[in-house]
Symmetry: C2
Subunit: 296 residues, 2 copies
C-alpha cells in the first residue's frame, strides 16, 4: 500500500461475535455490514475518511456456503458505498460462534486526527442522530417481554434494522476534524462514553436528558421505566463531539450540509467526571452507566 502524500493514517480494529454483537439468526449481509461499519464509525469520530481494510473471519456452525455468499454480497455492497477496498485477511474454522474481525485504515490530512482527549471546559457536547434506537432493536429481538413491543410496526422495524446495521457517520468526519476539540463514537452507551471523553480530557460535564435525541415515535411517558436503558445501552454508533463555543455554528452548519442531524446535549466544565445527567432539574441516578456487550 503506497502512502498518500500529505496524509496520516488512522488505524482501528473492532471485532464482532455471534451472540454478543449480532444474533445467530441475523441475515448474513447485515453481519458483514455491521462488522465493517463499526470500524467506519470509529474512523469518522477521529475525523478520518475510509481508505482500506482487512477482514478476518472465524466461521461458525451457521456459516455455510449460502451464508458466506450473502455475507460477501453485503460486504461488496458496503465497500462500494463507502469507497473502501479490501487489502487481505484470513479465514479460519473453529466450530464455535462466528466472529468477524476488521482492521480499517482511514486517512486524515497530516496532523489532523481527532482524539477523545482534547475536550476543554466550556465546550458544548453534541451527539449525532438518535440515541437508543439500537437498544430498542436488541430488546425487540431478544426480550419477548419488552415494553417496546407496543411500538408501532414501522418504528420497531427501524429499530431492529439499526441494531443490525449501524449508520456510521462517515459524512461527519470533516466537520469533526475541522471544528471539534475531541470526539468518539458512541458504541457502549452515551453516558459511559461521555464519561470516557471527560476522563481522557480531564473535564467535568453535564448532559440534559431532555436534549438527548431519543427515537421518534417514542412516547416517553409510556416508557419511563426503560428510558434510562436508552442512554446507557450499546450499538448506537453515533458520534459524540466536544465543540468549542466559537465553532458551534460552523459545526452545526457542516453537519447540516452533510445531511446528518446533530443535537447539543450538554456542556463541559472545569473539574472531573463522571458526567452529570440532569432531568427535570435533578441529577439522574443511573444504575449502569455503560453497556457491556455480553452473551445474549
Amino acid at each position: 500500500m503506497e502512502p498518500v502524500p500529505g496524509t496520516d493514517q488512522v488505524v482501528t480494529s473492532d471485532m464482532i461475535a455471534s451472540g454478543v454483537h449480532f444474533l445467530p439468526g441475523d441475515p448474513p449481509d447485515t453481519v458483514a455490514r455491521k462488522a465493517l461499519r463499526v470500524n467506519l464509525s470509529d474512523l469518522a469520530s477521529k475525523g478520518a475518511v475510509p481508505h482500506a481494510y482487512l477482514l478476518s473471519i472465524a466461521l461458525g456452525p451457521e456459516t455455510d456456503d449460502d451464508w458466506l455468499e450473502a455475507f460477501a454480497a453485503g460486504l461488496a455492497d458496503d465497500q462500494n458505498r463507502y469507497g473502501i477496498r479490501l487489502l487481505g485477511g484470513d479465514t479460519i474454522a473453529t466450530g464455535a460462534a462466528c466472529l468477524v474481525s476488521i482492521t480499517a485504515i482511514g486517512l486524515v490530512p497530516a496532523g489532523g486526527m481527532v482524539h477523545r482527549s482534547g475536550a476543554q471546559p466550556g465546550d458544548a457536547l453534541y451527539v449525532s442522530g438518535t440515541v437508543g434506537t439500537a437498544t430498542i432493536g436488541l430488546a425487540l429481538l431478544t426480550d419477548p417481554g419488552s415494553a417496546f413491543h407496543r411500538l408501532d410496526e414501522a418504528t420497531k422495524a427501524a429499530c431492529i434494522s439499526r441494531y443490525r446495521v449501524p449508520d456510521p457517520r462517515v459524512g461527519l468526519a470533516e466537520a469533526v476534524r475541522l471544528h471539534a476539540h475531541a470526539a468518539m463514537d458512541v458504541s457502549d452507551g452515551l453516558v459511559g462514553d461521555a464519561d470516557r471523553i471527560l476522563a481522557a480530557s480531564g473535564c467535568a460535564g453535564t448532559i440534559h436528558f431532555e436534549e438527548i435525541p431519543l427515537p421518534a415515535g417514542l412516547d416517553q411517558a409510556d416508557y419511563a421505566a426503560v428510558v434510562e436503558g436508552l442512554i446507557t445501552g450499546g450499538d448506537d454508533y453515533e458520534i459524540l463531539a466536544s465543540v468549542p463555543p466559537e465553532s458551534e455554528k460552523a459545526f452545526a452548519n457542516a453537519a447540516s450540509a452533510a445531511g446528518i442531524p446533530v443535537s447539543r446535549i450538554g456542556r463541559l466544565a472545569r473539574g472531573e467526571g463522571p458526567v452529570q445527567v440532569m432531568r427535570a432539574g435533578s441529577a439522574m441516578v443511573l444504575g449502569a452507566r455503560a453497556y457491556v456487550h455480553g452473551n445474549s
Copy 2:
C-alpha cells in the same frame, strides 16, 4: 500514524484460535507470541520489516486475570524483540474459545514488496530452517500414540516449543526482497504452499525430498510411515523463496550473514503445478498436500 517517506506498507492479518492454532492448555505468553509471530512471518516473506500492529482478542473461559497478565507480558517481550509497536485493538468476551486476531503493518522500500506470483522457470526453491518440527510438536501434544514420543527428550521439547512459538524469519526479509523472485511463508505445509507459488506464478516445479531440512535428531528409517506428514503439516512458519540462478549465491550469503539457515530443495520449470516431490528417483504419492488447521 505518519507515513515513512520512501516506503510502502505491507499489511497482513492472521487470526489464531484455541483448539485450532494453539491448545487450550498452552502457556498464555506463547499464545501471544504465536499470534504476533505468524504475522511477522508473513511480513518477512514479503520482504517487509515490522512496523506496527493492532490486536483484537476474544476472551475465552480460560482467560482469567492471571492468563491475561502472562499474555500481555509475552506480547510486550516480543514487541521489544521485534521492534514493533501496538497501535490499538479491541477486546471482547464471547464465552467461547479464546481467539486472537492481529493485523501487522510492515515497511518495504517503495515498490519493494515481494509477491508469491513472481517465480520463473529455472528459479531455485529455497526453504529456511527446518520443516516439520512444529508438526512433531503438535503430535506430541495431542496424540498419545504418536511414534514421535520415542524421540529424545531434548528434541521433543524443542519440537513442542516450536509448535507453540514460531521463529519468524524477520532477519531474512532483506535477502528475500533483494534476491528472490517470489516468496511466501510456509504455514499450511511445505508441499501445499509450494503448490501455491507455482499456481500464482504459472510454473511447474520439483522438490527433492532428500534436500528438505527435516528436524535434527530424526532417524528417518524409524519414521518412514510418518515422514510424509512432516512435509505436508502445518505451523512451520519458515520462508519458501524462489531465487533465480544468478542470485542464489547472494541470497545464500545474505541468509548466512543474517544467521538463518536456508536449503535449496528444488527448482521451477516451464509448465504448471502441482509440485513434484521426488524421493529416491520416484515421485512421491502424497495423501494430503496441505495442512488444514482444524479442531484438535
